[in-house]
Subunit: 219 residues, 2 copies
Amino acid sequence: MPATPETDAATKGRGRRAARASGDDRERAILETAERLLEERPLSEISVDDLARGAGISRPTFYFYFPSKDAVVLTIIDRLVAAAAGSREQALATLAEGDLRAGLRQGLEDLYAAFRARRAVVLAAAELRTTNEEARELWTQVMEGWVADVTAVIEAERARGAAPGGQPARDMAIALVQMNERVQYASFAAESPSLADERVIDVLVDIWLRAIYGSADPG
Amino acid sequence: MPATPETDAATKGRGRRAARASGDDRERAILETAERLLEERPLSEISVDDLARGAGISRPTFYFYFPSKDAVVLTIIDRLVAAAAGSREQALATLAEGDLRAGLRQGLEDLYAAFRARRAVVLAAAELRTTNEEARELWTQVMEGWVADVTAVIEAERARGAAPGGQPARDMAIALVQMNERVQYASFAAESPSLADERVIDVLVDIWLRAIYGSADPG
DNA sequence: CGAGTTAGTCAACAAGTTGTCGAAAAGATC
DNA sequence: GATCTTTTCGACAACTTGTTGACTAACTCG
């Protein structure tokens, strides 16, 4: 049973000091403003003042609700990650049913869809990761969870003789999961080069299957 | 003949306004200070003042030599990229000799070594990429160059019947090159999860070969 | 109801950053 | 040594972030 990211623990203490009353509205307004602004411009070009004004409060009042701009984004990321954890559960269930090819595709597809639906947040998360230790830790937990799952799958396939041996399963899992992260990010950001939206899953699934089941013999 | 990144054009106008005299020393001092400081802490925690003081000049004088902190880092990245272009030439030559397996491994190894030797710069480049358009463009050129090379190799192997068909060669190339970028970055940053230094090449080569030569049939 | 705690608000401040301007110092040139 | 160009930096303006202290609205319990 691989670990689920501890979104509860991570959330603790991120928001307002105490909580009650109509202040919930303000908190929500700040979060919504952040998401809205992130669709228009990168995190680095959004100031605390922008967030405060967007939520109809002054800057000092903002600090009553959140300790920093980063904390707002971290809260948003937490929620996205928690939502994505849902698709993971489902993918593992499908996988347990036996058809790995279909299960794998389904899993990657669901995850891609979940993140794609909130591109702006994913992009902000990547940006935050470069400067914010807490964001790095959160992402580490997410990645470790996926790597653990994939490692287990690869080992199971090898054990039942369906997949040939090769590099250590965990090493393969790390590279594959990181490939997905990078390819999907590039696609969200519409970098160049990047895979077209509707090609992403086909290409990733193909490489995964070949990496897991194929041999490395040039003809 | 795939494109080489235009490091010459990109460098233009990045440094000082005019150029001559002993000001070269100062310029070098700034660049060296930047590289030195980047080994100790991330780019976001280095100020123009740090750079100036490190080079023994005042902050306004810094602006005589470079228009911004970003410009300094961009110059450093330019040089690293130009150096890395060397290994690429060599890899293509080895590849042309025929033994793709060895050539591929050699190419990935050389590139990895070139970047690994200046981890701090690579990490700074990644950080800068999230906020600086020019850095993104520079990296785009580098990536497009590699993708073009790899696409050509895959197509050649398919044409001579050594590799089976599958996803479009360019799509495969994009995913593989982006995988390498991400895996290597994680290793440099000692993220968790990440591949241990001495495992990186083995794992990447294995996945590349399976992706290029393998089929996607689960047993 | 009314004194007291609590939640919510913000003007004003402190400290840090970036980038610019204009005047002065240092060097080269004739 | 008068003149032009390069180099240098003190002082300033603009913009951040985060804090403090005082003020208001509301609730609460005797």
